[in-house]
Structure formats: C-alpha cells, structure tokens
Assembly symmetry: C2
Homo-oligomer: 194 residues x 2
C-alpha cells in the first residue's frame, strides 16, 4: 500500500544513504555532525536527524515558517548546511544529499543546534493530493491512513537497522494547533534524549 | 497501489521540480540544456530527459555499465553534469537536483550528447526487494506488476502536463538481453524524435 511503499523508499532511497558510513567517501551522519561542530565551533546536544512529521502534511520550505509571532518563545533559524553526501546513483553522477542544520534561540539560554527537516515523502504526498485533476487515481485516498502506515513502517524499519537505529528521531508536530510551537517540541525531544 | 504511488511521487517530487521553469531561480530543463550547449560548445540533438527503465530494475551508478565489451558498438560516457537546480524543500535548505549529461561515441559519426538517467524509484524498489528481511511487508509483491503500473501512470501524468509533456522520454531497455545495447536504443530513440 501507498504508506508502506513510501516508508520503504524513504528509508532505502535516502536514510540508508545519508546515515551510515559507506566505508569509502562518506564518514556517516554522526561523524558529519562532529566535523560541523569542529568547523563552526558549535555543539549539537543530540547528533541525530530530527524528522518532522506534520499533522496537515504541509511542509514549508524553511522550518522557520512554524515560528510563532511571539519572539519570547523559542524559535528556529536555519544555519549553514552539513557537508554534502555525493554518490553516483542510478545513472546520476554525483547525486547530492544535503541536510540542514538549524539553531533554536531561546530566552535565558544559549542557542541549541540540531539537524532537522520535514519528512519529504509527506510533502510530496501533500502536493499530489492538492492536484486532484492530475492525479485522479489517488483522489479517494485517506491521507491520515497513509501517514499512519508510513510512520508505523518507518519506525519498524529504523528499529531493525542497527546502523540507523539510534540516529534518527521521528517528531510529531500538530501544525494546526496554535498552542504547539515546533521549536519547543524539538527542545523537549532533545531534553528527553540527552 | 505501490506502482501508481511511485509514479505520482516521482512526477510531483522530482520531474515537476526539474523540468518546468519556476519563474524565478530555475530557467527550466530545456533552457538548462541550451546553457550547457553554449558553455561546453556541444549540441544536444534532442533536449529532453531520457528516463531509462530497465527490465531487471537494476540501475548501475553510471550508465557506462551497460556498454558492451565490443567497442566497435556505440557506447556511453558521462560528461560534465547540467547546472544544479537548488531550492528549499520541506525544511531542507538548498536541496540540490542534478542531471547528468552523457555522450554516445559511435564509429563513423560525431559523438551524440543527451541528458539521461535511470528511473530512480525503480532503483530504490530494486534495493528494497533485495533486503527481504528488512522489508518483510513487501516480500510477496510482483515487481513486474509494480513497474507496469508505474510506467502506465507516469506516462498518463506526463501526457496531462503541458510543461513536461514533450520534455521527457521513457526508454525501455532489456538489460538481460545480450543483443540489446543501451547506447543503440538511445540513438534510435533520438533518431525517432529528431
Ligand atoms: N534522479 C533523482 N534525483 C533527485 O535528486 C531526486 N529527488 C527525488 N527523486 C525521486 O523522486 C521521487 C520523489 O521524491 P521525494 O523527495 O518525494 O522522495 C524522496 C525523499 O523523501 C527522500 N530523498 C531522496 N533524496 C533526498 C534528498 N536529497 N533530500 C531529502 N530527501 C531525499 O527519499 C525519497 C525517495 O528518493 P528516491 O528513491 O531517490 O527517488 C525519488 C522519488 O522516487 C529524485 N531522483
């Protein structure tokens, strides 16, 4: 089914490329963060990829779009990206995989650094569902069912993969709930793991 | 179903990003080829993206892997890639999309340039099906059925999209048939379109 297929292709086509070391050109996600820390003189309290799953499936280009108007609350700002992963894939020479680093500013504390992004397959699904005429065959799917199949399958596969298992975090964020602030959700997740 | 979902996400999550102009940073695929021709002093007889669909679903890192041992036959060689498409997508800043240019050498004629690659979702599917233990839920799928659903849906969607319709070509290649040479299959496709 759609959600299960999405999770398999997200893991095999992406997480399996960017998280583990490939024993050759790519040192692995955690080491990539270590290199970034050394170069930029910053500290990531948690060296994992935070994958944000939004309730509405809407994924803005930049996570700062989820910041609240009230700047006294913690807020996200993109910084320099991590080092690119480049590899020849399916006839595409030097295909590039790039992860973003964000800092969370908060009152009464130093900014907190993390690697974060939305779950891209959900972003694509959201765009697909918005174009009903083009993708008529998918007009009667239940998005929430697809997302829950996606998350359940992804969690299963990550758990079974020793080299990815403790290196990504699925983060649920209800972007339709005005009382939820993504920066706070991420800070809580970091405290939980630290 | 899996194949239909793969086609929708390949079109919406990739072709829709790299083929049309976005009216802002990206001039569009055809114009990107024009720029390449001017910079490199070469000519692309057909300014479309050739998407190679292999029978076995196996997609090598570089299309040269399909060249025959006999060098009297036409053969592929990767050249400098086209200009990157960069855009913020789902929280990933400056996500990079890159297409490869290849030249086909042939006896008794100048080399022929083209933009080509394998259909990445099939590559990912191939890797997923090879890891039966990790993706148990997909162990009883019929790959050929998925591919045929994928191709049929993709063809439908491309046909309905005026800004992509004459800009990509699906190319079927039976990589298990020793008498088929991908470079020749592509040359024939180019002659057909020219
Ligand atoms: N040739 C090629 N070059 C690309 O740059 C590219 N980007 C996407 N695709 C293919 O288009 C389709 C839709 O992409 P989406 O982003 O929704 O899902 C992607 C996305 O969620 C994630 N992913 C892959 N590459 C990246 C990336 N560089 N950054 C973030 N996420 C990525 O993993 C999924 C599967 O990727 P692929 O299995 O490589 O094939 C994809 C997919 O079939 C590409 N195909």
């Amino acid at each position: 089914n759609y959600g299960v297929g999405m999770a398999c292709s997200y893991f095999e086509g992406y997480l399996a490329h960017i998280i583990p070391s490939d024993g050759a050109r790519f040192v692995g996600f955690e080491e990539n963060i270590n290199i970034y820390e050394a170069k930029q003189g910053v500290i990531f309290p948690v060296k994992r990829l935070f994958i944000v799953i939004t309730k509405s499936l809407y994924c803005p280009p930049d996570l700062k779009h989820f910041n609240k108007k009230n700047r006294k609350l913690p807020y996200l700002e993109a910084c320099q990206s991590l080092e690119d992963v480049e590899k020849d894939v399916a006839g595409v020479k030097n295909r590039t995989y790039r992860n973003s680093a964000y800092k969370i500013y908060r009152a009464g504390g130093a900014p907190v650094y993390l690697a974060a992004e939305c779950a891209t397959p959900l972003h694509t699904l959201h765009r697909v569902l918005e174009r009903k005429a083009l993708y008529e065959e998918l007009s009667d799917v239940d998005p929430q069912e697809i997302v829950s199949d996606f998350c359940e399958m992804l969690r299963k596969v990550i758990k079974k993969s020793p080299d990815c298992c403790e290196k990504c975090e699925l983060v649920y964020y209800d972007d339709k709930d005005p009382s939820q602030n993504l920066a706070d959700v991420l800070l809580d997740k970091i405290k939980e793991i630290e």
